[in-house]
Symmetry: C2
């Protein structure tokens, strides 16, 4: 017999940079009946999702579909499908997730050249362009919104330079997609990876990606039909540039998401329902209106945090609108504050990584979590918890400052 009870989970106010609260209708859609992967009803959902993802990524690319895995699965799928051993890859790093790009590229045998700037700031595009000219890489891989530092990197000039020099430009937009502008075509991005559990308010477990015909041409050169699927009469593949991963092989995934519908994995049915609904909600709200909403609640949050007497971390000129980083006041145990927020107020905020561990808190304003009720709740609770910890704050001012923004 089984002693395990049915699952019950608390209703948290999740103000981290992801995973955030899911859209209620996304959760409802996940209760929909399963369809077989080659059922015409299901392949129609696949096609519709591709159409919607193109709009989300603001691209006319044909290829836009999810990888069945979490965000880093999307990043690895793109990098491992285009990187061949010895390829030169330039990774400009300004936070943790730049290191992740490096880590993945190195594992697939790339000759990775990194450049770093101070965490809490971003690169001057001209500096990156100068390095591209010097290094002459095949690929430039960059993070758009760094959740670890709350910074956003301007990409258009870098993208233009890459296109001019025939360099592939790969962008990790996991944190920014659906929350702030990501213009794949306008910014000359060749392959872009988005996230579900952040500004789209879909549970973690899928990674929408898009790539253009420049990337497709490269993939077709590396293509190999899977054993056990190939017609027995076909001569054995002489492919020598095979993509290392089978699961992440974008050249095979094109045949699964394209009209050939060649069996690869079994598409994650329910997660696809969820993604379709999350993107549908984003497009129904309208991207411009959605980005403005994210900006409004960020302003209210920032006004409240400053009115309380706390200081922001990072260069304000490059602040990512969907993540706000706050310096932990000296002498205060940041983890104790986070624990009390969770236990007493059912609010989750985040700490950070590596060199920033213990020095900043990070508050997300993403997707469905990004709403007035949550902003006012987190400001009131943070003030109360800080007072309880003996910190000096301007009591009563934070919520008022946020209300001022909402009422102005």
């Amino acid at each position: 017999m089984c002693a395990y009870k049915e699952l019950t989970t608390s209703q948290r106010t999740i103000m981290t940079p992801g995973p955030v609260e899911a859209e209620p209708s996304v959760l409802r859609m996940m209760g929909s009946p399963i369809l077989g992967q080659f059922d015409p009803e299901f392949t129609n959902i696949m096609n519709e999702t591709m159409e919607m993802l193109r709009k989300l990524f603001q691209t006319s690319n044909h290829w836009a579909f999810p990888i069945d895995g979490t965000s880093r699965a999307g990043i690895e799928a793109v990098l491992c499908s285009i990187i061949e051993p010895g390829d030169r890859v330039l990774v400009p790093i300004y936070g943790r997730f730049g290191h992740l790009l490096t880590e993945i590229a190195e594992r697939y045998g790339a000759d990775v050249i990194t450049m770093e700037t101070r965490w809490g700031s971003v690169f001057e595009p001209q500096d990156v362009i100068a390095e591209i000219e010097r290094v002459q890489p095949k690929i430039v891989a960059m993070v758009h919104g760094e959740t670890s530092t709350g910074c956003v990197q301007p990409l258009k000039e870098i993208g233009e330079a890459c296109r001019r020099m025939d360099v592939l430009f790969v962008v990790d937009a996991v944190a920014s997609i659906g929350g702030t502008e990501v213009k794949v075509d306008d910014w000359y991005i060749d392959a872009c990876i988005g996230g579900t559990q952040k500004c789209l308010s879909v549970p973690s477990g899928m990674a929408p990606i898009t790539f253009n015909s420049r990337v497709e041409a490269l993939l077709l050169q590396r293509k190999k039909i899977e054993r056990g699927l190939a017609d027995p009469s076909t001569p054995k593949s002489a492919q020598t540039r095979t993509i290392r991963s089978n699961y992440f092989d974008l050249s095979q995934l094109m045949d699964y998401w394209g009209p050939a519908r060649l069996n690869h994995h079994t598409e994650a049915t329910t997660m696809l329902y969820a993604l379709r609904e999350g993107v549908r909600i984003a497009l129904t709200e309208g991207l411009a209106a959605r980005f403005a909403r994210h900006r409004l609640h960020e302003q209210a949050l920032v006004a409240g945090v400053l009115a309380m007497g706390l200081q922001l971390y990072g260069d304000p000129a490059c602040k990512l609108p969907v993540v706000t980083c706050i310096k932990i006041p000296e002498g205060l145990d940041g983890e104790s504050v986070r624990a009390m927020l969770l236990e007493d107020f059912h609010i989750e905020i985040a700490s950070s990584f590596g060199p920033l561990k213990g020095t900043i808190w990070r508050i997300g304003t993403m997707g469905y979590s990004c709403r007035k009720k949550n902003i006012l709740h987190v400001l009131g609770a943070l003030e109360a918890v800080l007072i309880r910890h003996g910190a000096r704050v301007h009591a009563g001012r934070a919520v008022q400052a946020a209300l001022d923004i909402y009422h102005s």
Copy 2:
């Protein structure tokens, strides 16, 4: 504005070898609120799921957790984490999914030696053992239940031989786990991969795996801490045997699923809720009772199919109880029959791959789809569709034969 409507999906009777209908309570659990990945409530769910998976795999292994991807993600995670370039891997193949093991192992640089037997049969364990003795591989990788042919391979003697010769034994139990006996410890399996969307009736998108201390020891030799997480004062890793994939790096996943809770991916929250519930239902039913239920409905299905005048494909001695393969009568268009079943009766059955394409149908009896109502429905509908296609069948006998089984 967005022209896309809310999702609606039909309620199908899914009698393929996966994905099958999800357990209703699994779908309900997927509507549960999101928890943060380091929320103690969530890490408790992770730990509980590990405990339950150990019972499902019938193992005392410490490590039992899901990979966030579909079944082949689990296979690739295991293979890429233990295979180093040049390692000799023996893959005995008796259907499509043996070819997949070969494909993945080759991509990660293994020196793969295959042996094949006729599709529709399995190996004599002694033949495999003789080949292991001859080849002296580091790893033997085999499929337990081949959905492509509906055959199940006895594993215990092969496992014993592997252990004796200090060979790692990796088993793909994607199709069999939760539907028929899979005894990881008794059969000396070192690493085993299960599937969610088949006999567990959880949507596709996660792959539960387990591995023992023999595998763990190898993983620890290849371990590398991720850049951006390592303490800046730690000297740079001198690891030269790094696992190629970051996403599938089991040595890192141990630190995510273990007490260190080192950030890797963001766990697929809702899919984990679903997996926990699916495994909970399996354990509550009881594995022995569950396997007996699968066997009962298989018998009813087979009785019906034979009474109709159709013939089974494959050696009955090694028939996989959760998949029944039927020869398509000569002159009949198998795809037209499948299409009519879907369109008129909302029933899905499967075709097959490679050399079997167009020659057999495959009917699954898996998980929640494996119930009396479905068996009677599919038999009645298949008979009607065959008559409609002008095939000669013994009208009226199939459902009666199944009822005989149920009433005996």
